[in-house]
Symmetry: C2
Subunit: 402 residues, 2 copies
Amino acid sequence: MSGPLAGLRVLDLSSVVVGPVCTGVLAEQGAEVIKLESPDGDLLRKLGGKGRTPGMAGKFLNFNRGKRSICLDLKHPRAKAVLARIAARCDILVTNIRPDAQKRLGVDAATMAEKLPRLIHCSIVGFRTDGPYAGKPAYDTVIQGVSGIAGCFEASTGEPRYVPMLVADHVCGLIAAQQIGFALYRREKTGRGESLEIPMFENMAAFVLQEHLGPMSFRPALGPPGDQRVLSPEARPLKTADGFIAVSANTDAQAHGFFRAIGRPELIEDPRFANVAARTAHTRDYFALRATALVGRTTAEWLELFTRHDVPAMPYNTIESLLTDPHLRATGMVREEEHPTEGATFAIGAPNILSGGMAPTLPAAQRLGAAGPDLLAEAGLSAQEITDLARDGALIQPEETT
Amino acid sequence: MSGPLAGLRVLDLSSVVVGPVCTGVLAEQGAEVIKLESPDGDLLRKLGGKGRTPGMAGKFLNFNRGKRSICLDLKHPRAKAVLARIAARCDILVTNIRPDAQKRLGVDAATMAEKLPRLIHCSIVGFRTDGPYAGKPAYDTVIQGVSGIAGCFEASTGEPRYVPMLVADHVCGLIAAQQIGFALYRREKTGRGESLEIPMFENMAAFVLQEHLGPMSFRPALGPPGDQRVLSPEARPLKTADGFIAVSANTDAQAHGFFRAIGRPELIEDPRFANVAARTAHTRDYFALRATALVGRTTAEWLELFTRHDVPAMPYNTIESLLTDPHLRATGMVREEEHPTEGATFAIGAPNILSGGMAPTLPAAQRLGAAGPDLLAEAGLSAQEITDLARDGALIQPEETT
C-alpha cells in the first residue's frame, strides 16, 4: 500500500512551521520530501525546546517526520549548481523564503519555470504581492494580530489575545498542501506545472470574516459583527468536581437533556431557555447557568449522565493527558517509538484514512544533513564529487553539525 | 481562465460549518457544487445570525458562495431515486452525516462505491471509526475540549477556554478539501475513486501535539510540554496610546531594534535580554517589559518607528476594521457586492493565487432550493417529472420555503 502522492518528489526550502507543516502533509501522503537546510539548520531545531541532542528539539521532531535532510551552504559557489540538480528531479518546490531572497537564490517561480515547466512552485508569503502590504515581514503573531484573530478575543472577553498555538502558520501550511494537491490534479490534465502564492494574511482574514462577519455582511450592517454564541466569554469547558468537561447542548433536545441531567427539568419550561431562539437571546444567562451547574459531580459521573440524556459531551484533555487518551492510543495516533538517534520518544500518527492506500509509517525526523550524500548520489553526482563538495564546505555532513 | 477543479462536480450532503468549508474550497477552485438540503435547510441558514430575509443569515452567505442549492425531502420515497441520479453525475461526495445515518440514506461509502467506482467519497466524522470513541457526537466545542485546544489555554492563562471561532470545524473542513485533492490526483493515475474518513478529533489532537508536545516528546519527558514562548499569558497585541499593535521581535536583531525603537538601547546589554537563549529563559520579564512599553505613542507612530528599526509589526485589526483594511480592499479580498436576492452586501474573495488559472468570481449563496429544477433537468428528468416531484412534496422549490 502507498499514499496518493507516492512517486512524487518535493524540494522543501522552508523552515520553522508554515512550510514544514505543508511538506509534512505531503510526506504523510507518500511523497519523498527533500528538506534542504542551511548550515545553521531549520531554526526550529534549536528554538523548538529541549531535546536529547543539539539540533533535535521535540517540536522539530514533530513537524519534520518523513523528510530527508540535506545541508548545503548556498553561499558556496558550487552549492547552487547542486541545488539546481536536485530541483530538476522534483515535482514540487515549497518555500517560505521571502520573494526577493528567492530571486537572489534563483529559486523564484519565474526562474524555475523556465527550466522546469512541470514544476509546481509553492511560495508561502505573509501578504499577497499585489497589495500594499506586499513584502512586509510575517510572523505568526503578527498575522494573528492583523488578520482579526486577536480581535475575536477582544470581541469575546474584551481583551485582544493570540491563540496559544502558531495557528496562522499551521493553518496556512495545511492550505498550502491543499492547493498543491489541486495543482497536481491540474498537471495531470494539462501536463504543465504552475506557481502558487499562498498568503497568510488573506487566508486568515478570510477565515475570521467567514466566521464572524455575520450581520455586518450586509450594507448597511444589520447589527454588530460576530456569532455571539461563539464569542460568549463563557464559551469554555465546564468545571466539575474533579476537573473539566466539554459539553455542547445547542439543539432543543440537547438543552432539555442537559436540564434533566442536572436535575432541573423545570428549566425546560423557562421562557429564557425553552427553544433555540430563546437561548440565543439569553446566551449570557444560559452559559452562566451552565458554568456552575456541574461542580457537584465528577467528570466520569457527568459523562455517564449525559450519555443517558443524549447530550454531546467528552472528557477535557490537557496537552499531557492526550498522551494517555484511550482513543488516541487505540488508533495509533499516539504511539511509543525508538528514534534512531534520539532514543525513546512519542510519535504522532497520520489522522486521516484513505481507502485507496496510505503511506507506511513515516521514518522519524533526521539530524541535520543526514541524507545529504545519499541524495547527491541519487541526483547523479559521483563519489568523488560528493567528497569534494564536503571538503570544500558546500555540503555539510551530520558528523560536522552540532 | 478556470480553476484547477473545473469540470468536476461535487454532491454536498453537509451542513453548518465543517462540510460547507470543504465544499466552499472546492467551489473556489472551480468545481460545480450541488448543495442538497432538507426541507428545513442547512441549520446555519437560521442559526447564522441576522439576515434580510428568512434563511439567509450572514454567516450562511459567507460559507456557501458558489454552491447550487437543491431541496429534497429524502423521507419521500421518490426522492432517494432522484438523489441517486444526481450522485451518478458527481465526482466527489462530501458529507458530515453520521455513518449510521449515511447507511440509512444509502449514501455511505460502501453502497456508493458499488455503483460509482470513480466516486471520491469523503466522510467527515468526529472520531475515527476504528477506536473506542467511534460514533460519539461531535460539535466544535466538544472537539476543542477533547483535543487539547482548550487545554492550551489552561497551559497559558490557567483557565481552559475555547478559541472564539469554530476552529475545529473550520480547520477540518480545510483538511477534508486537501485530502480530496490528493484523492483526485490518485484517481487520474488509477482510474478509481476511493473513500476518505476525516476525523476531527484526530486531526485537532495532532495539531495540538505537534505544536506543544515539545519536551514531552521524549520518554522520559525532558520537561513539561508546551512551547513556553507561545504559551506566555502575555502573548497578545501590545497596547498603544490609541489602540493595539501586533509586534514580533524574536531574533536578536529584532529584539535589539525593538529596544532602540522604544528608546531603551541599554537593554541590548541586559543579560536577561541580550540573546535568544537569554530572552527565552526570561520570557516572562521580556513579555512584561513589552506589554507596557508602547503606551506613550500612537499605533501609527510605532509602525513608522518599527519599520525604521526593522522590527516586524502590523496594525491590529478588529473584525469590523478588516472591512476597511487597505490591503484587503486593494486585493479584492473584501469587496462590495449586490446579492441577487439579499441586496447590498460585503463579499469575501479567494485568498490564493494560482498561475495556471483561477475560477471566476463565484456567484453568491443561494436561497434554499433555488437551483433544484435546473439541476433535475440537467440530470435528465423531464419537465413533467420535475413538476410531479414538486407536486408530491419530494422537491421543494424556493417559492415554498421561508
